[in-house]
Amino acid sequence: MITFKDVSKIYLPDHIALNNINLTIQPKEFVSLAGPSGAGKSTLLRLAIREEQPSKGQIFLEEQEINHLAAKDLPQLRRKIGIVFQDFKLLSNKTAYENIAFAMEVGGRTNQEIEEDVPRVLRLVGLHDRDEHFPDQLSGGEKQRVAIGRALAHRPTILIADEPTGNLDLINTWDIIRLLLKINELGTTVILATHDREIVNTLDRRVITLEKGRVIRDEEKGRYIL
């Protein structure tokens, strides 16, 4: 599904954010990326969506080497991946419905597909009665659910979530995690970066632990150990 081969990322002038990362994630896996703040989790995910380029090494997504993609091929890549951020990153002048529809539009879906799919996605994330609301009019948990809905717009085979619960309270956190599990059950690979011990331990899935830019532990059914 996704493979990192000898990947390093050095921020100029000399900050080594990732140091020689090797890992492979299989289709339909649910992987937690754990580690303390500054360990390099976000950096790893940014490389996977080509928001940044590695200083060294290769990254493959479904056989395709993505680290040398031309700028014009980036939209195509990003339509294969659903992305969720800690700070939601919704388009503030679009409603919940339009945020999701926008992602479908840029993916070239027909109007009919969009009219059918957006309500379906909204129902999946539990927001079918909030479709006309703008991000400012939604709670944090609701915003994150819109963001997850948008990430699903392209029907991605892989969903990348960087601390999606970082800004949420306990109840909303578990709502989001349950939603991610449900999406995973429906067949999507999920990569979840978090430094929340509770979440990692409860999930009882594969855990990759990073520290100071290195993979220090990679276990099936892992626990959060530091």
Binding site: I49, E51, A71, L74, P75, Q76, L77, R78, R79, I83, K89, L90, L91, S92, N93, K94, E98, F102, A103, E105, V106, G107, G108, T110, N111, R150, A153, H154
Partner: protein, 302 residues
Amino acid sequence: MLTTLSRIVKSGWLNFWRNRWLSSSAISIMGLTIFVTTSLLLINVLTNSLVQILRDKIDISVYFNLETTEEQILETRKSLIDLEEVESVEYVSQEEALEKFEEKHQDNQLLMQSIQELDDNPLEASLNIKAGTASQYEQIVDFLNGSQYKEIIDKINYRQNQAVIARLSSITAVLQRSGVVVSIILALMAVLITFNTIRLAIYSSREEINVMKLVGAGHWHIRGPFIVEGAFYGLVAAVIVLIIFYPVLWLLSPKMTAFLPGSDLFYFFRINFWQILLLQIAVGVSLGVASSLVAIRRYLRD
């Protein structure tokens, strides 16, 4: 393709509408630009009509000796008309000259009497010559002095008018040239301010642009709505300026006419209403589109 276009237009329209209070600064700047452009156009019309009035006031008259025959004068006229510099030549016969004289001096008993006492018509036939531009009179006079017609010409009143003609010709030249320079400077300033306003508006959307990229939007999906929004700024600004211009001209035009007889701005405005509206919209929309296109370029580089 068509769906993409309609989505882009719709999205641009929604952005415009939802930001309408924020948009108002861009619109007012753009309106200012269009206002300046339209004013420059109208001032140009005024200058031209002023130049025209001045030009109509200048002519030179060639007076022929009393014994000259009408054929000779008409022949002179013909060769003058053939000159490139000459715009029109009007023939005033002796009789016409007399009529004009009598008409002009009908209240002056003494003059009238003395003229009626004469047997012959003392007034000379003349040609009134108008040139294309004021600077060409010199050449026309040179032509006449150097030709075979010199014999039959009594006098040319150019010398008397020369100073006036020279002054007018330099004034009209300065007027037109400075008009062009001022127009270019003002228009350039207006364009730069508009561009900067739009650049600022797009700068404040850079985070959104980045988000659009991350959800897989292609360049046109990102750029399109901004361009449409820019076009709407231009459109609305053009309409607002037109709405302002109409009553202002209606009020101002009569005063202008009093000052510069023969010019009627409001009339010009009404006659060319659609062309002006079209011009304003063209200026506004192209300015909005071009500014957005340039301003967003740097955010699309990867």
